[in-house]
């Protein structure tokens, strides 16, 4: 095939260096959130959501009330064993955030170490490690929709559940939209472009407008499908096996707490 002359000319176009790292960075961040919500599609545990939430509440309460590293190390053992049963990627994520929190609180209390407060100084970093790890494990095991369902189980106001539920859904939808917009921005801006930063604020504006439309549309769609603003409490009763296991572990922890913090074992 004979190409016209102008098409046969070799073109040497090297675009000047441009910084669009911030777009990739925002894109990555949006995708991580969307992925985190997406991954939580199905229930993976035989433990029920209300049971786990109640367990988490008592567990955190005990952590906060503990005054010795001994009881905290028991809790650490329990959390490590549960972590062993999770996939490696989630373990890395949970441990990473927990260690970061512990490091931050260690930095905060480090002056106390210099003032000579002894081992008690390490209580705060240990507690932040444990609490962040516990919350990480529960969110890993519980899908979002079960979480909102469980909140209703505890008779939380319907408005609160509704707001939480719609927020989570909207984050997912808007995240997808943001992903499309950012990809479009990245693809269409060829070469050096000084208006990229301004375009990014445009993306945010479009997202905001869409969010308003979305919320209206969703509410209308829900009303059309018979939503009366009521979230009926879960009909399904919690499974006995899982609840019993949780109760057993919890009573064991309570006993340990009474013994170690109440000093019963120390006196024996």
């Amino acid at each position: 095939m004979n190409l016209p002359l102008w098409a046969r000319n070799e073109e040497t176009y090297t675009p000047s260096r441009d910084r669009d790292y911030f777009i990739s960075r925002s894109l990555l961040r949006v995708l991580t959130v969307v992925l985190a919500l997406r991954r939580q599609g199905r229930s993976r545990s035989f433990l029920t959501a209300p049971g786990m939430l109640a367990f988490l509440a008592v567990f955190l309460l005990l952590t906060v009330m503990a005054r010795t590293l001994t009881f905290l190390s028991c809790q650490l053992a329990l959390e490590l064993v549960i972590l062993c049963l999770l996939p490696g990627k989630s373990v890395g994520r949970i441990l990473g955030s927990a260690l970061l929190a512990a490091l931050f609180s260690a930095l905060l209390v480090s002056p106390a170490l210099l003032l000579g407060s002894g081992l008690q100084v390490f209580l705060l970093p240990a507690k932040s490690l444990l609490t962040v790890m516990a919350v990480g494990i529960v969110t890993e095991l519980l899908p979002w929709h079960e979480l909102t369902g469980a909140l209703r189980f505890f008779r939380l106001p319907q408005e609160l559940v509704f707001i939480l539920d719609t927020t989570l859904r909207n984050i997912l939808l808007l995240g997808q939209m943001a992903e499309h917009l950012l990809t479009a921005l990245k693809l269409r801006s060829v070469g050096y472009n000084r208006h990229k930063a301004r375009a990014l604020s445009g993306v945010l504006g479009v997202l905001f407008l869409h969010a308003q439309h979305l919320s209206m549309q969703m509410y209308e769609a829900m009303v059309c499908r018979g939503f009366t603003g009521e979230y009926p409490p879960m009909q399904k009763l919690p499974s006995w096996g899982g609840s019993l296991l949780l109760l057993f572990v919890l009573s064991g922890l309570g006993l340990l707490f009474a013994c170690l913090e109440g000093g019963i074992l120390g006196r024996v």
């Binding site: 590293l69 001994t70 064993v81 062993c84 490696g88 373990v91 890395g92 120390g266």
Partner: protein
């Protein structure tokens, strides 16, 4: 067999650490080549097995204690390079969190228990298996016996050369005070008899159990741990307080002051070697597997749970990092 802090001079520790460096590098390379990421968590369970076996202390007349290591068992199950890495990590967790074995002496401990033991044990195992192909248990038992004794022999030599090399002006040893003619018999008598036997029993019992309960694993073909393996771990964890029955400590392992009253040289030593008294000290999180304010048995079980979980998690994390790399530079369709 764990060499505590300051029993070896820093220079000895440095030499043995330097000797281990290429071994570790090679082990990492080999494991990366040979062990698929899916099998990594299994290796963590192997390391946990070794960790637990080292918590079962056995008393010996004369006041010292010893334990099985499980290095040969791991070599049989996963190959010697993987065993080297797994035992090294078990020793690392012990040194860092439980103060069992020194941080400075980590290289020396790894040389004895993570390098000499699995490789020697595996060589014997392969040799015997070649002669008697149906006798896997016998081969593993013999291998483990030779492995632990070789490791003990190396440890004895490392102890024994200290007074020859490092003395102060008054003729007092700076580090471990017993020369070769005391250290070698003292270590070897125990290991040739009771500890060697303990290692053989541990190795063959676990291997025998795995052959029945998880035959895939015993033949090195399993990709995932079966419930039977987790059951074995749980059983071992519950049994660890048995290790507390041994009350004696080996050569002032947890307290250097004890050394002054011991009389391996015919009369009481009479002094605490200065290098041990004011040497490097490291405060482990749970020293001697004890947790403050807790009865010994609970502390021991809790330490076992934490150590086991840490090792399993460590290998899981490593597997998730090295697993499934995508090569974006590869051509889309290779033809």
């Amino acid at each position: 067999m764990h060499i505590p802090e300051n029993y070896l001079s820093p220079s000895t520790c440095a030499v043995l650490g330097a000797a281990m460096l290429p071994v570790w590098l090679m082990a990492v390379k080999k494991v990366r080549q040979e062990v698929p990421p899916e099998k990594m968590p299994l290796l963590g369970i192997g390391a946990a097995l070794s960790f637990l076996s080292m918590m079962f202390n056995i008393p010996l007349p004369g006041g010292t204690t010893g334990h099985a290591v499980g290095g040969t068992l791991l070599a049989v199950l996963f190959g010697p390079w993987s065993a080297c890495l797994a035992v090294s990590l078990a020793l690392f967790v012990q040194a860092l969190f439980f103060g069992d074995g020194g941080i400075l002496a980590f290289g020396a401990n790894c040389f004895n228990m993570a390098f000499a033991m699995p490789f020697a044990g595996y060589a014997i195992y392969k040799g015997v298996l070649r002669a008697f192909p149906q006798r896997q248990l016998l081969a593993a038992g013999l291998g483990s016996y030779v492995g632990i004794n070789l490791a003990a022999f190396f440890a004895a030599i490392e102890f024994g050369i200290q007074p020859l090399l490092f003395m102060d002006g008054a003729g007092h040893a700076l580090y471990a005070p017993y020369p070769l003619w005391v250290s070698i018999p003292a270590m070897m008598i125990g290991h040739l008899t009771i500890f060697g036997l303990a290692e053989v029993i541990f190795t063959t019992a676990v291997l025998g159990y795995l052959q029945k309960a998880a035959p895939q694993l015993a033949q090195g073909k399993a990709e995932k741990a079966s419930p039977a393996v987790y059951g074995l771990l749980a059983l071992l964890i519950c049994g660890t307080p048995l290790g507390l029955l041994a009350t004696g400590t080996a050569w002032g392992e947890w307290d250097a002051e004890e050394l002054a009253e011991q009389d391996y040289l015919g009369s009481a030593l009479g002094y605490v070697p200065s290098g041990m008294e004011d040497g490097f000290s490291f405060a482990a999180l749970f020293p001697d597997y004890a947790i403050e304010g807790m009865p010994e048995i609970f502390g021991y079980i809790l330490s076992a749970v934490i150590g086991t979980a840490l090792l399993v998690l460590l290998f899981k994390l490593v597997a998730s990092f090295i697993g499934h790399k995508t090569n974006y530079d590869a051509p889309a369709h290779e033809s």
